[in-house]
């Protein structure tokens, strides 16, 4: 069967695939991928056999670290992160929830001191039955990840 690539193959860099449709742009913004200055290809609402619709991001010349990949697990737990070198997959990151996450999300508590001070936000992360809970180091409030892990 003739198979056509809808997104061009990557020589070197990182492919973030199987992102839930609609989250691709958020991920792009949260991880400030565009600020790397590298060439980025983004596919939105691509058809996927398993997911129905998915987003995909390909970043040239940037290898996502283990830590960054785990941060991704918060809002795209089924995403796959492949690091590519010379068209070959050299590393497949297995996404695991990070123990903590620093400086990416703002604390949803508007009265938390972290907003107006020279510090990075910091949450400890804990899986709890079906939810993931995030506790702010400063105000000690506990939030469901869906409340914290959003673009503001």
């Amino acid at each position: 069967m003739q198979y056509t690539r809808t997104v061009e193959a990557l020589k070197q860099g990182t492919v973030i695939d199987h992102i839930p449709a609609g989250q691709g742009v958020n991920i792009l913004r949260l991880f400030k991928l565009a600020e790397t200055g590298e060439r980025i290809t983004v596919g939105l609402n691509l058809s996927s056999r398993h997911m129905g619709a998915k987003d995909i991001i390909k970043v040239e010349n940037v290898a996502l670290t283990e830590e960054q990949a785990n941060e991704l697990a918060l809002f795209a737990p089924k995403a796959t992160v492949n690091v590519i070198d010379n068209f070959e997959v050299v590393k497949k990151h297995k996404l695991e929830l990070p123990e903590s996450i620093e400086g990416i999300f703002a604390c949803p508590n508007s009265n938390c001191i972290s907003h107006a001070e020279p510090v990075k936000s910091f949450f400890s992360v804990r899986a709890q039955s079906k939810d993931v809970k995030m506790k702010c180091k400063y105000c000690e409030k506990v939030f469901s990840k869906d409340i914290v892990a959003v673009v503001r």
Binding site: C136, Y138, K141
Partner: protein, 306 residues
Amino acid sequence: MANPLYRKHIISIPDFSREELELVVETAGKLKRNPRNDLLQGKLVGSCFFEPSTRTRLSFETAVQRLGGDIIGFADGGNTSAKKGETLADSIKIISSYADAVVMRHPKEGAARLASEFSSVPVINGGDGSNQHPTQTLLDLFTIRETQGTLENLTIAFVGDLKYGRTVHSLTQALSLFGARFYFVAPEQLAMPEYICEELDEKGIEYTLVDSLDDVIPLVDIMYMTRVQRERFDEAEFKKIQGQFVLRADMLKTARTNMKVMHPLPRVDEITVDVDATPHAYYFEQAKNGVYARQALLSLVLNETV
């Protein structure tokens, strides 16, 4: 060997081990029996109240002065450089370069934790927004130990506003280290937050949600009352629940002889004045204990051994 709280920041009750809580409680008892006027001699404590407070500030300042220490500081953030837009981080860097310890209250949650990251001396949290008020919990623990002779396996009812009451949350967390059994008596709108109940479930601590004050009176060693704030309800709703969570002297007939009534104060009308004369009333002694608990804490933080 230095005591485990020497030069430590005191920010939040969950940071404490059971042994550390016991150490503060024991030290407070010693200082109440045998007052000392030398433990803070030559020490200067910064008292930084970015938000007004009566009991907490006065009892801290009393504690410092009774122990022979000196105090600098302010009672209202409105007169400080915070008003000019200085960050708390900068303020604390400077104040901590003047004093040997900083006691602070601040309207924002997390302020004390943040201050501890920028301070060169121990920071003691005197309340950060709706988050923590650890010295209230320490004085509550001291009072409970003083009246019951132990902290182990006690039965405690918390009554009133259990949703917003930070003292209730921290005291529940602290007592759960000592195998307590809890009754939570509150209107549905002010019930204990889910996260506290989940923590208790995880630790296998028994608790019961109750809506009648009368039912729990014969069952408990400590009745911890709190104020139900009128402004949390509309007028009709408030009328309905008002009276349900009020303790009167005639209700105490079924109480155990050792049962004590506590309240973080100020009380409004949730404990009627006739309770004051019963042998169960202990809230004024509890407020007085604030000085000993804070003396104990300051002494431990500023001295290798006490």
